[in-house]
């Protein structure tokens, strides 16, 4: 399995996250270039039949571990499985999604293997001698860095929504190697007692579209018009820190330097002034729409489409129009 690119295929429940396919697509491209192959690490409560998608989107091999011990996520167990496999098979690189799980796991695996890892990458390039130069924002996106990690495997977390999700090719098939994990209870140092699943409107990191509200919303009730617009678009709901501080909406919705970093295809900012700390979390969105009644608001400096006006008049009309449009 030489010159192998590995992808940690993260789950949400028992389904693979969209970002898993994005990373497989990325790994597939690199493998075409260098003549290597792609392995998906499928760890968790996974039905073997469900792994076919990993092959359709770029994996050549799948390492599947679906034992009871991995039913619940555990940093130690997952990291040990991955680090042990990596020591044995010596992949060239391992990509994790820059999600809560990926960020929990990648530095741990890297530390176990004694190598470095690059966080939250938005691009990469391969040199002729198979070193990967990662592109990653620093200083909340004010600076873009080119970084390299030492040794092998070259480990990185990759920001969701940056690389395209490949079109599945159902003729592609991957071989599945089932492995079992033997761990004593003592390895599991963290025990999940409870999982509280939020609704789709709070899964901001992977959302294609986000509708966000700021202090301009004035109160929690008014946020309903943001939610309605989001619903019509199938979007997640974001917020500025001011909106969270004023209790218009809960903290997990916050976008920005001390909130979530997002790169949706479409980000609609309503009643948000565009402070530097807010822009830090959303300025890599592909298209930014701003609705603000102050024509001089900073958000307009980065908005692809800036609507100057009262959001309370504009948003409901926009929601209606889109409802007609989307049928």
């Amino acid at each position: 399995m030489a010159r192998n690119f590995w992808v940690f295929a993260e789950l949400s429940g028992s389904e693979f996250r969209k970002v898993a396919f994005e990373l497989l697509g990325l790994a597939r491209k690199l493998a075409y270039k260098t003549g290597g192959d792609v392995t998906a690490l499928a760890i968790g409560p996974i039905e073997e039949s469900n792994t076919a998608k990993l092959g359709h989107t770029g994996a050549d091999h799948i390492i599947l571990c679906a034992d009871d011990v991995v039913k619940d996520y555990s940093t130690e167990v997952y990291a040990t499985i991955i680090a042990d496999l990596a020591s044995e098979y010596k992949p060239l690189a391992i990509f994790f999604p820059a999600t809560a799980r990926g960020k929990d796991l990648a530095p741990k695996v890297a530390a176990k293997l004694g190598v470095g890892s690059a966080s939250d990458c938005t691009g990469l390039e391969m040199t002729d001698n198979q070193r990967i130069i990662f592109t990653r924002p620093m200083y909340a996106g004010k600076i873009i860095a080119q970084v390299e990690t030492s040794g092998e495997p070259q480990i990185a977390t990759i920001r969701p929504n940056v690389f395209p999700s490949p079109t599945p090719d159902e003729s592609r098939k991957a071989d599945v190697e089932r492995i079992s994990a033997d761990f004593g209870e003592d390895v599991i140092k963290t025990k999940i007692l409870e999982t509280i699943v939020g609704d789709a409107e709070v899964n901001l990191t992977e959302a294609d579209i986000i509708v966000s509200g700021g202090r301009g919303m004035r109160n929690a009730e008014n946020f309903q018009i943001i939610r309605e617009l989001a619903k019509v678009l199938g979007a997640a709901v974001g917020a500025s820190r001011a909106a969270v501080d004023e209790d218009f909406i809960s903290q997990p919705h916050q976008v920005g330097q001390t909130g979530k970093t997002v790169s949706p295809n479409l980000y609609i900012a309503c009643g948000i002034s565009g402070a530097i700390q807010h822009r830090a979390g959303m300025s890599t969105s592909k298209c930014i729409v701003a609705i603000n009644n102050n024509p001089d608001a900073d958000i307009f400096k980065i908005a692809d489409l800036g609507v100057v006006g009262d959001l309370f008049k504009i948003v409901p009309v926009l929601t209606e129009e889109l409802r007609k449009e989307m049928g």
Partner: protein, 264 residues
Amino acid sequence: MNIIVCVKQVPDTEAIIQVDSVDNSRILEEGITFILNPYDEYAVEEGLLIRERLGEGKVTAVTVGPSRSESALRDALALGVDTAVHITDEGIESADPFAVATILSKFISSLPHDLILCGRQAVDDDFAQVPAILAELLGLPQAMFVVGLEIDSQDMKCKARREVDGSHEVVEMVLPAVITCSRGLNEPRYPSIRGKMQAKKAEIPRKSLADIGLDVESAGLASPKVKVRSLGLPPSREAGKKLEGEVDDVVKVLVEELKSRKLL
């Protein structure tokens, strides 16, 4: 309960960051105001809250960094931590996350420690790596991005509520453990005047690598595992179209624009 809080000094979030034209792997520090990493404020606050709730305990703030980073420790002292330790040496400002974690782990293992609190990430390098590496080096469990924490000092356990994309999880861990603190965990207090005065006067012990039993080599400073090749500015985002006029018209134009960009 012995609580260690790892803090870092970082540029103010408003700061304009420029790349050094002589060495483009560095930023220009001139004119930058440095602050305590905003996420580390949550870590400091949580340490103080736990001490207050238990009615006992000691909170120690530690930083690894150049001379200037002492201000982060003074900020922590002003807020109420019991002691502060500054680990500093030549070349330490370019330590990569593995080196920082190596230095921290070496120092922390020499102290009694029941709980290690860190920030979720440092807002300069935005790595979110040091705490996980630290936990691995110390052989301790970790919970990242924590927004709720309950300490059971009787059974030496804790329950941490952490944010996972789209959901929350409550995990139980045996102490000592490493926790990274996220926004939502608490509301950091402001320093009191008295606290500020005391912090200003406080003696902050400085330790060199040799003092804690490391050298450039063993601290990992000589062979960084993450190397910055170059820094640059992001492609600037230009202001696009402004749409003004009657609501109905503006909305129609907006929808057409979104359609033409294949966003709907």
